[in-house]
């Protein structure tokens, strides 16, 4: 943690040093194959993938099903509100205090934080599909599952993905915070250890975290584009930035 006022004084060159650190960082004992940053970056990616995998398996079917049946709106929507109010540091700390410090315990905390936005957005996305379209699909003889797969899901892609993207950001940012709650296998470990890595290391790791988050966000944006049905893509240019938040909000 940056508590030494001396660093602030000679911070002029700190970003230059940080970039140098990114390209020349040593190795940690017992890990001969990777440099320090690579090792911790892989750790961050690993836990992010695990946490998002588990959260998607839990939250996506639940949110989609609730939206399809138009049930449980109170729970589905308030879950998102409560999730937003939970400070990630506290969730991590409580998990590590009562469960222990390790991959599984941190995963519990991450899943707790990632599930609410996915459920809420999936619910709202499916629930708010134009009822006329659903009626038309049923009139054409589609079964419930066909309606869900061929009509509701494609139309809900922007909101489904908005939830997934929000959750992923939550998870990356919380994974790095986990260092403060005692879990040392992410880039947060470098940020948290200013005594060991100096300000240049802290800044270098912070730059890596930010870059990683942005790359993942861009990848997810591309995934969203690929999942959006062709005719909706052009309309999306205009409508998406607005729709992404507002339906969820108005339903609150």
């Amino acid at each position: 943690m940056g508590t030494d006022a001396g660093y602030v004084g000679n911070a002029m060159n700190s970003f230059v040093d940080a970039v140098k650190f990114i390209f020349r960082n040593g190795q940690i004992p017992g890990q001969p194959h990777f440099t320090t940053l690579t090792y911790y970056a892989l750790g961050t990616v690993k836990i992010t993938v695990f946490a998002m995998g588990i959260s998607l398996v839990i939250a996506l079917p639940l949110g989609v099903w609730l939206g399809h049946r138009h049930r449980g709106s109170f729970v589905a929507i308030n879950l998102g509100n409560i999730g937003r109010a939970l400070p990630s540091l506290v969730v991590l700390a409580v998990a590590s205090a009562f469960l222990g410090i390790g991959l599984n315990e941190v995963l519990v905390a991450l899943v707790v934080l990632a599930v609410p936005p996915i459920i809420t957005n999936a619910y709202v996305g499916i629930d708010e599909v134009d009822p006329d379209l659903v009626d038309a699909a049923r009139g054409m003889g589609m079964t419930g599952l066909q309606v869900l797969r061929q009509v509701e899901m494609p139309l809900a892609v922007p909101l489904l993905m908005a939830g997934v993207r929000t959750a992923t950001l939550f998870v990356i940012s919380t994974t790095t915070l986990a260092a403060y709650a005692g879990y040392g296998d992410s880039l947060g470990e470098v940020v948290n250890n200013e005594a060991g890595y100096h300000l240049s290391g802290v800044l270098g790791a912070a730059i890596c975290i930010a870059a990683m988050a942005i790359v993942i966000e861009v990848v997810l944006a591309l995934v969203q584009r690929a999942l959006t049905p062709e005719p909706l893509r052009r309309a999306e240019q205009l409508a998406l930035p607005d729709e992404q938040f507002v339906p969820a909000i108005e339903a609150v």
Partner: protein, 243 residues
């Protein structure tokens, strides 16, 4: 402790430790009440200030940006990209990166920058969407009544955009309350993050962590409730329609 024996960690803190503190219960009410005025209440007050500054500043900036984007459509895309970019930076990295910038010390200003930055995307989008969703007929009617552009904005567009604006404020406020607990990593003595971090540092006694964490959640819920109340007051027509 026997002389010369191994040093045993002192589980209960000082000799003045409360009974339930020694017993290390899940939640020690005596500790809570005896530390309320000295530790928790000041931290809560600071936290409120931290959030208030962030949301007010973020709202002012977003309002200006949204009004610009409402008038000149070209502005929207760059602002959306930039605010999304800020929103994407993980909090820990954001706070720490600011420490590398000369002139930004470990103080309240440094802590506020990310908090303000995170509110922009949501507030900008919601204000702009609210303004754009005002029906064209209503705008035509306003113009037909001889209202100027300014009058239309103040008397027609902004009031009708109020639900979307307040919805944005609710999201921004609630997430800022949660995020502000991380500001302690830059400004070591400010807000509920301080008792939370102290609670994390105490390996055995977790009341401080739970109490401060619960206060943060309660603060978020209270702020959300107040904004819902504000919306009811500011949009009386919505209530009339409902009844």
């Amino acid at each position: 402790m026997k002389g010369g024996g191994p040093v045993i960690p002192n589980f209960g803190g000082s000799a003045h430790a409360l009974a339930c503190q020694k017993a290390n219960r899940l939640f020690c009410w005596d500790w809570f009440s005896s530390n309320w005025s000295g530790t928790l209440w000041p931290a809560l007050r600071q936290h409120v200030l931290l959030v208030l500054i962030a949301v007010v500043a973020g709202f002012a900036i977003s309002m200006v940006l949204a009004l610009f984007a409402h008038r000149y459509q070209r502005v929207e895309q760059p602002v959306t990209w930039f605010t999304s970019f800020l929103y994407t930076i993980p909090s820990l990295a954001f706070f720490e990166l600011l420490l590398g910038i000369p002139g930004l010390g470990l103080n309240l200003v440094t802590a506020e920058i990310p908090l303000v930055a995170y509110t922009l995307l949501i507030l900008f989008r919601n204000i702009l969407t609210g303004l754009r969703n005002v029906p064209t007929e209503v705008l035509d009617a306003a113009r037909g009544m001889g209202m100027s552009r300014r009058q239309t904005l103040l008397r027609v567009e902004l009031p009708l955009a109020m639900p979307a604006i307040i919805a944005g404020l609710r999201i921004a406020t609630v997430s800022t309350v949660a995020l502000a607990t991380i500001a302690v990593l830059v400004d070591g003595n400010y807000g509920l993050g301080k008792p939370i971090l102290d609670g994390i540092g105490d390996y055995y006694f977790k009341t401080e962590l739970i109490a401060a964490g619960a206060l943060a959640v309660l603060l978020a819920i209270t702020a959300d409730g107040l904004l819902v109340g504000a919306q009811r007051l500011l949009t009386p027509w919505a209530r009339m329609r409902a009844t």
